[in-house]
Subunit: 217 residues, 2 copies
DNA sequence: GGGTGTGAAACTGTTCACAGCG
DNA sequence: CGCTGTGAACAGTTTCACACCC
């Protein structure tokens, strides 16, 4: 496979196309121009993105939605179920546990962990909270049946790296990190961060920017 | 202000620098090389990012942390408090209401809204939930005192655009959108999206990728 | 010496424009 | 004829390398 890698931005857009065409039940075929209208992504870029993975379109027609969604589903790895471990049963962790979209999209949180003695053993949204210290053992037993190599980290920032180390050691290959901390992991492990404060800061930067522009006029 | 705009990626990194130096209580001065170690961002890029906004460093020394954090705080608009409206009191909304980092960072959620009749009037985390229909009126009254132009949207995807329209009409200039939907807003309004499923899809794409590479070896 | 700030080079990602196909 | 797929132009971002300053 000498094919060069697609960028993270391309993958983000791919998912956006996927979600958008799933919602486009009003049509059977979609042109890049029409998809552009619905997603906000320029038509040329949509064609570039898609053509990177194959020739899914029909000249003169567009993209057949059934066909395209199947391809995208496969490319994004969403043509199967994934078992996910959640570490850190705070407010955010609980919110994700009950996030209804997950099930629909093939993500199944099947193990939850925390380190607080008063939480361990308790039940949350139907799951028994297990001790973070037992992660390796639990995931590896679990791993035989399913594919337990995605983890969601919703622990406080000061223990996030420690938790990440444990997860990597237990064979986790992909981490969705909600903690406001940079995680350092081996090359073969992928981390994506969701940092709410960072996104908020982007907004306040923008608003401050505008104000100082107003003044200078 | 003829200065060209900094990219969104630059702003993201700026916040990362800011957070990192706030945690770096062990030192008074930091070189771009040291900051690179702590953030994972290449030193040259750190210098480029910072030099875009001014000359904050001291040749031969590095960046004085007090000085740099003050500059970054100002640039990011975090040298003041911001009042934030939250729309949609579901699981995610509730998690954000109690997110402790917000207060520390100058974000204060001060109004919360929902459309469900059984929620309106109830109290959540110390706030009375108000009717989404009254947003304009409430925000504009509130707006006289503070700056009520940031909103967090945690409503279902199918009503997100409708809510965004109402918010824009009520004078909101910046939206943090958790709904899995593309929001179309006027030019002068900024939206940033947090899309958990999209981030998860990036992970499954990566894992699927790896598997097919393994096979081809 | 040591480290910033910055032009210039290298690279990456996006847009253009059109040949070619259905 | 309409729309895809794509090479080529363009734009934006990152890296390099070094002059200059403390």
């Amino acid at each position: 496979m000498a094919k060069q890698k697609a960028s993270q931005d391309t993958i983000k857009r791919l998912f956006l196309y996927y979600r958008t065409i799933l919602e486009s039940t009003d049509i059977k075929v979609v042109s890049s121009e029409e998809l552009a209208k619905r997603t906000g992504v320029p038509a040329a870029l949509i064609r570039k993105d898609l053509s990177f993975f194959g020739e899914f379109g029909t000249p003169g027609k567009g993209y057949y939605i059934d066909n395209l969604s199947n391809h995208l589903k496969k490319i994004l790895g969403m043509d199967r179920d994934w078992e996910v471990a959640l570490v850190g049963v705070g407010n955010m962790g609980r919110a994700l546990l009950t996030y209804p979209k997950f099930k629909l999209q093939g993500f199944k949180i099947s193990q939850i962990f925390d380190s607080a003695p008063d939480k361990i053993g308790k039940t949350c949204a139907g799951f028994r909270i297990k001790d973070i210290a037992d992660i390796k053992q639990v995931l590896q037993k679990e791993g035989e049946s399913g594919r337990m190599n995605i983890a969601i980290v919703t622990v406080p920032a000061n223990v996030a790296q420690e938790v990440a180390n444990i997860l990597v050691d237990a064979g986790v290959r992909a981490i969705l990190n909600f903690a406001p901390a940079q995680l350092f992991v081996p090359e073969n492990v992928i981390v994506t961060n969701i940092d709410v404060s960072n996104e908020m800061a982007r907004l306040t930067y923008f608003l401050s920017q505008e104000e100082s522009e107003d003044k200078s006029q």
